[in-house]
């Protein structure tokens, strides 16, 4: 009987044998339930853990590195910043609105668990082609879910990215990053404290929603029956979360908690075992005290439930009454559900009977570590050789095609559904390279950029990952911030395939090398495997979330007007278009080997961008990424409503996406100052044109003239025209 149960819960026979070994007896059902969720890929990182050790995670300003609920860095003057990124891919495919909404809720709890007030959210979302109504339904639902939860919970959504590629049709990606700010003395960790400490469960009642979300949903691939997994998706209640945030921050202000753990994946199983394991203690958990939504839940159901908006606070016994009073003040429920015990056993009681008795740390630290086979795909060489030059079209046709692409055109259809102004700190919100918010009470600004590019990583996972780190660093540099810390969200296919594990290890090597070169520590991350449907894996899609700090916040860029010099900064574009948006939109087939990062040039470019923002007041800076230098220029011209005369000698010059390059626009009479600064930093600078008039004129092999109005209309409709009308299912 138990044999069938463990498989139903997603455990392998080997894992079941290991549990028998730890307990020296067969596990009872509630025990098996706990091991199944805690040892799931999603919670245990069993396929990835052995590879994550080599990443650079240290720097003098790192206060909390990977392993806690969020990374924390020191930003000076007694202030800290907490950051974390997480995926909610599988739930969002099964139920886009709730899947995305609860992704937002979960990442917020990771941040305010640390004692920080969440101050910003970023989302990185990827879908199949919008010509398919199902993809439109998913896209619409995910955006509405992020908006519905984020707006109502009262945390601004400040940026992100959206990409479309057929490879994500069966497996959309929804990653969410959150940033929090706190003062040094407010820092709280996920520890249970000494024996005698009381565990208080705060927030929503426990129900049957989300049972097995970590094991059944997040740690398995999809097939045609994906819809049948809908009961494993949790349902979010942003109102409950808003109250929970305020209640927890109030508890921290009053110094009433020893430690806090949020209830996310694996619910109570995780909230009881992880803090106990971290503190090296045991725990007695009384399920009869848990406030329930449905009265007749079984012990395994309660232990596995992933009901949202719950937190476990660890409190000194003489402060329990005060904690319950604070909870009542904020109108949330609270139950005393456990006590920290000496020894190392986690004991769970239900209906007055002991139903679980296991070593607490065995759930977290003794999860199996897998050394999965690794093999470079035999199709890599073929992919690198594939460089199709046949399908090129005139520059203006290509440009209009790129502007009409929903991943490159106007994304305001997405971000105007998000409150991005709450708290009155948004200096640069969505639609910019990097977001920038002020930290009130200081002269500091915090900048965030999140970047992914599955196509470049498919072509070369190591180079692709390196480029993402440099892109994110440059994105915060162009708003005046110096890179401080990275969190990564590693979205991959099925780890049981050696090629996927090869992609994974290559990406880690690239991330590590780039962060090392830039001196930026990785303070947290999330691994999402099994992004595969019907045997088709997604591209390896790491997403880098990079935090930077500007001090002081530089003056705002001037509006783009006529008479400005257009300066291209960074190494000369090679003739390589591998992985570019141009290759995708115009040529179709993916192929070639992308240009690699030049650490020296990249570092100088980033340094130059930071100096420029602080020295040349009003300079307009824009990172060059998808669509290349011409696309970057057109975006600035559309924003300013002004034309230009620019020179692009080839398709590669116009649309190439070689790394660490940016555009700088300044009034023509200030160009010498920029040139002088470039000389000091050792950066290459190239004058590619001048703004003015109402047309874009491109001088190249042939001269092309397009009214700016036309470019703007095409760009503005890229998403909105495709999403017009009903998309409900």
């Amino acid at each position: 009987m138990a044999e069938t149960l463990h498989r139903q819960l997603g455990m392998t026979d080997d894992e079941f044998t290991a549990v028998n070994g730890i307990l020296e007896r067969p596990p009872a059902d509630p025990e098996l339930a706990m091991y199944s969720v805690m040892w799931s890929e999603h919670c245990s990182y069993k396929s990835s853990r052995v590879h994550l050790g080599g990443l650079p995670t240290d720097a003098p300003w790192v206060v909390v590195g990977p392993g806690e609920n969020a990374g924390v860095v020191d930003i000076g003057d007694g202030w800290l910043a907490a950051l974390r990124i997480e995926s909610h891919n599988h739930p969002s495919f099964v139920e886009p609105y709730q899947g995305a909404a609860t992704g937002v809720g979960g990442i917020l709890r990771d941040i305010f668990t640390m004692g920080a007030r969440p101050v910003g959210l970023w989302n990185q979302i990827r879908f199949g082609d919008l010509s398919d109504p199902h993809n439109r339904y998913l896209f619409n639902g995910v955006v509405a879910g992020i908006a519905g939860y984020g707006n109502a919970v009262g945390v601004p959504t400040l940026g992100g990215e959206v990409e479309f590629d057929p490879v994500y049709a069966g497996n959309p990606l929804v990653n969410v990053m959150c940033l929090g700010v706190l003062q040094e003395e407010q820092l709280v960790l996920g520890t249970a404290g000494p024996p005698g400490t009381v565990a208080v469960l705060l927030g929503a009642a426990t129900g049957r929603d989300g049972i097995g979300g970590a094991s059944v949903l997040a740690s398995a691939s999809f097939d045609e029956a994906a819809g049948a997994k809908r009961p494993s998706v949790q349902v979010g209640d942003p109102f409950e979360e808003k109250k929970l945030i305020e209640a927890c921050l109030d508890l921290y202000d009053r110094r009433l908690v020893v430690g806090v753990q949020d209830l996310g994946a694996a619910g109570l199983s995780c909230a009881a075992s992880e803090p106990a394991a971290r503190a090296g203690v045991g725990m007695d958990l009384n399920l009869d005290a848990v406030h329930l939504r449905e009265p007749d839940m079984t012990a395994p159901e309660m232990l596995m439930s992933e009901s949202q908006e719950r937190m476990m606070a660890f409190v000194a016994p003489d402060q329990v009454e005060e904690v319950l009073a604070v909870a009542a003040r904020w109108e949330i429920e609270a139950s005393v559900v456990g006590t920290v015990a000496g020894g190392d056993r986690l004991r769970v009681y239900h209906n007055g009977q002991q139903v679980v008795d296991v070593p607490a740390a065995s759930l977290t630290d003794e999860a199996p570590i897998l050394r999965r086979p690794i093999a470079r795909p035999d199709w890599m060489d073929e992919l690198w050789k594939r460089t199709d030059r046949q399908a090129d079209v005139p520059i203006d046709v290509a440009l209009l095609g790129l502007l009409d692409d929903p991943a490159l055109g106007d994304r305001s259809w997405v971000y105007e559904q998000f409150d991005h102004m709450l708290f009155l700190n948004t200096v640069h919100g969505p639609g910019r390279d990097g977001s920038l918010i002020r930290v009130r009470g200081t002269s500091k600004g915090l900048a965030v950029s999140t970047d992914g590019n599955g196509r470049v990583c498919q072509l070369d996972p190591r180079r692709g990952a390196e480029r993402l780190v440099y892109e994110a660093a440059l994105n915060v540099a162009v708003v005046g911030a110096r890179p401080l810390a990275v969190v990564d969200n590693l979205n991959f296919g099925n780890p049981e395939k050696p090629e996927v594990m090869w992609q994974f290890t290559e990406v880690l090597a690239g991330l590590g090398a780039a962060c090392e070169a830039l001196g930026v520590p990785i303070v947290g991350g999330n691994v999402s495997f099994y992004n595969e449907t019907d045997g088709q894996d997604i591209y390896p899609t790491p997403v880098v979330g990079l935090l930077g700090m500007a001090e002081p916040i530089p003056s705002l860029p001037e509006p783009v007007t006529g008479g400005m010099s257009m300066l291209l900064i960074g190494p000369e574009q090679t003739d390589n278009l591998a992985g570019s948006a141009y290759q995708r939109v115009v040529r179709g087939a993916l192929g070639g080997r992308p240009t690699r990062v030049d650490a020296d040039q990249g570092g100088r470019t980033i340094e130059f961008a930071i100096r420029l923002t602080h020295v040349i007041h009003g300079a307009v800076l824009h990172d060059i990424s998808q669509g290349g230098a011409l696309m970057a220029a057109v975006e600035l011209l559309i924003a300013g409503g002004v034309g230009a005369h620019a020179e692009f000698r080839s398709v590669e010059q116009a649309f190439g996406e070689d790394p660490h390059r940016f555009l700088c626009l300044v009034p023509a009479n200030r160009k010498p100052e920029v040139e002088q600064l470039a000389l000091e930093v050792g950066c290459r600078i190239e004058d590619i044109g001048m703004t003015g008039g109402s047309d874009l004129t491109i001088a190249g092999p042939e001269t092309i003239n397009i009214p700016l109005e036309r470019l703007r209309d095409v760009w503005a409709n890229a998403i909105s025209a495709r999403m017009h009308g009903a998309v409900h299912e």
């Binding site: 908006a147 519905g148 707006n151 109502a152 919970v153 009262g154 209640d237 942003p238 109102f239 409950e240 808003k242 109250k243 904020w330 109108e331 305001s412 971000y415 105007e416 559904q417 998000f418 409150d419 991005h420 102004m421 709450l422 708290f423 009155l424 948004t426 200096v427 002020r438 705002l556």
Partner: protein, 230 residues
Amino acid sequence: MTVGIVAFPGTNCEQDVAYALESLGAKTVTVWHRESSLDGLDAVVLPGGFAHGDYLRTGAIARFSPIMAAVEKLAAEGRPVLGICNGFQILCEAGLLPGALIANRDLKFICRPAHLRVESTDSILTRAATIGQVLTIPLNSYEGNYVPGPEAPNAVLRYCDPDGNVTEAANPNGSAEGIAGIANGAGTVAGLMPHPERAIEDFMASTDGRVLLESFIASVEATPAGVASG
């Protein structure tokens, strides 16, 4: 002179409104919705957010919070009462302002600056502005589509294009006659969907929110103590 700012569970703009009013020289105090008195306060603001999660209907639960009786009393005394966004919805639901706010025409949340034309300067919200003035102030709502009651409301702000023309194309959410803000007949109770506190500093969408908040502060200062009390 002290302005009370009411916080319901789910309200999220109370600190922003306090920051904005204080930066313009007012004194503020946050009042929790379970309180039943506003004694000693000269005016009250119901800020934006999602009071009680906006469950059932925006403002439908909030209007029954204990503090609302005190808000009604203050309004009856002729003291300034201002509702911003969710606060406007609550004032309509409580019957302190006419009409109701329903889901936006396109069934999408809208967060972006809107152009507003000042229609009347006879209210606590607009007394320092000039008629016909065009203001740029961020909108941030899903239920911002104003529907009037049987009688024409006292419209003080309308959505318009950058040149001040009230047109259907310039109407972001489908509000009747482009109405963005209204006041009661006496001009002492006012509500608007856009957020003036989001337009007060140079790095924001504009600084046009100041004139509305300055109007409010001037109105508080101009209302003599003990007016009509009883």
